[in-house]
Symmetry: C2
């Protein structure tokens, strides 16, 4: 029962939980992240919490404030520009590399993940949308067999995460044409170049959302 929950160490679980909180916009930009706070909230010991915070700080998901405090970074225009450049460089490349390794089974899995994305959008289920969208992208990227570049993409998504909560607030106002359909069509056709282009447009669209929110001072 709880014997197998013992298999996976506490600091890994704690890391995963804190990471997902950041990744899916549950933590506001600028919010303080304290060790003792997380010890209480997550019910973990001090050492696992420390490690989770350190790891995420190293990944750029959290920001040291100088005076040994840590907080969720605020997005600025400059940061967004850098993240946009990195994402638009790395992720299309990953897509193209993945195209060579896609099997019918994997494409089927990606299709079902995209169905979950659509379903979440129709249901207005924002957390569900974010998780399914993340799963879709990284399921594809991991097929690239390029762990170094996937790590870089993960870091960029973590820097993006806190801003998602404001983008979510725009959901009602802005339509989201689904680039994933183009991507899936390219996968089935075995067309790496088209897949790359579809992913590139998908990313550019997401970045524009955040850029617009930023310009309107919603972040």
């Amino acid at each position: 029962m709880d014997g197998d929950s013992r298999k996976i160490p506490t600091h890994e679980v704690t890391y995963a939980r804190l990471r997902d909180m950041i990744l899916f916009g549950h933590l506001a930009p600028g919010a303080a992240v304290t060790i003792q706070g997380l010890v209480v909230d997550l019910g973990a010991g001090m050492t696992p919490v420390r490690e989770a915070i350190r790891r995420l700080t190293a990944e750029g998901a959290l920001e040291p404030q100088g005076n040994r405090r840590v907080s969720v970074p605020r997005m600025s225009a400059g940061m967004l520009e850098q993240v946009a450049f990195a994402r638009l460089t790395i992720e299309p490349k990953l897509s193209e590399m993945a195209a060579k390794n896609l099997t019918p089974e994997l494409i089927g899995l990606l299709q079902s993940l995209d169905n979950q994305v659509d379903q979440a959008i129709r249901a207005g289920d924002v957390p569900g949308y974010l998780e399914a969208n993340h799963a879709f992208h990284f399921c594809l990227y991991e097929a690239s067999a390029a762990p170094v570049l996937v790590d870089m993409a993960r870091s960029m998504w973590l820097r993006f995460g806190p801003s998602l909560r404001v983008v979510c607030a725009r959901f009602g106002r802005v339509s989201l044409p689904d680039r994933h359909l183009e991507a899936l069509a390219a996968m089935r056709a075995g067309d790496g170049t088209a897949l790359r282009a579809a992913i590139e447009r998908d990313i550019a669209q997401g970045i524009e959302q955040v850029q617009a929110a930023l310009a309107q001072g919603e972040i």
Copy 2:
């Protein structure tokens, strides 16, 4: 006043020391990195050592072995390809961005760092060369005011580090034309495009060194 030795926390110092050991090729690829070993070697407590290892693992500088041990990653052809792509994407971009912010004082500092590089090469001082070369590149990159991309570059250099010890063994056999001179000339001329090109060639040259060593089974 001199209480500043206590100002900077132990885990930061420990992190910096371990990072430099990796960055400058003092640790062999595949070598085991144990907490207790570092506790003895670095004379630090267990918690600071743990944190240093976690941070560096998150940065890709160390590799978990599955059975909760960590080791220095071995470079493979696939890894090298990914690191090469990332470096050749990020670092020329950083150079071009930095070009806009270079002051005469900064160019002077970079010139003196390059002098240290030359001096170390002439003296056959390998550690000195590695440190000065690193300082030159990141002094330039930090002028870009793009901390996100600089972090990515740092991570790539850390993945490169362990391979440097074998590249160093080739020093006697291979000549190293100095691309830094072209870079410095471009800086003085205020030519961002030329600076970008010079740095790109410098990086490509370094990668070719490792590629050649890898092909000959020296790693």
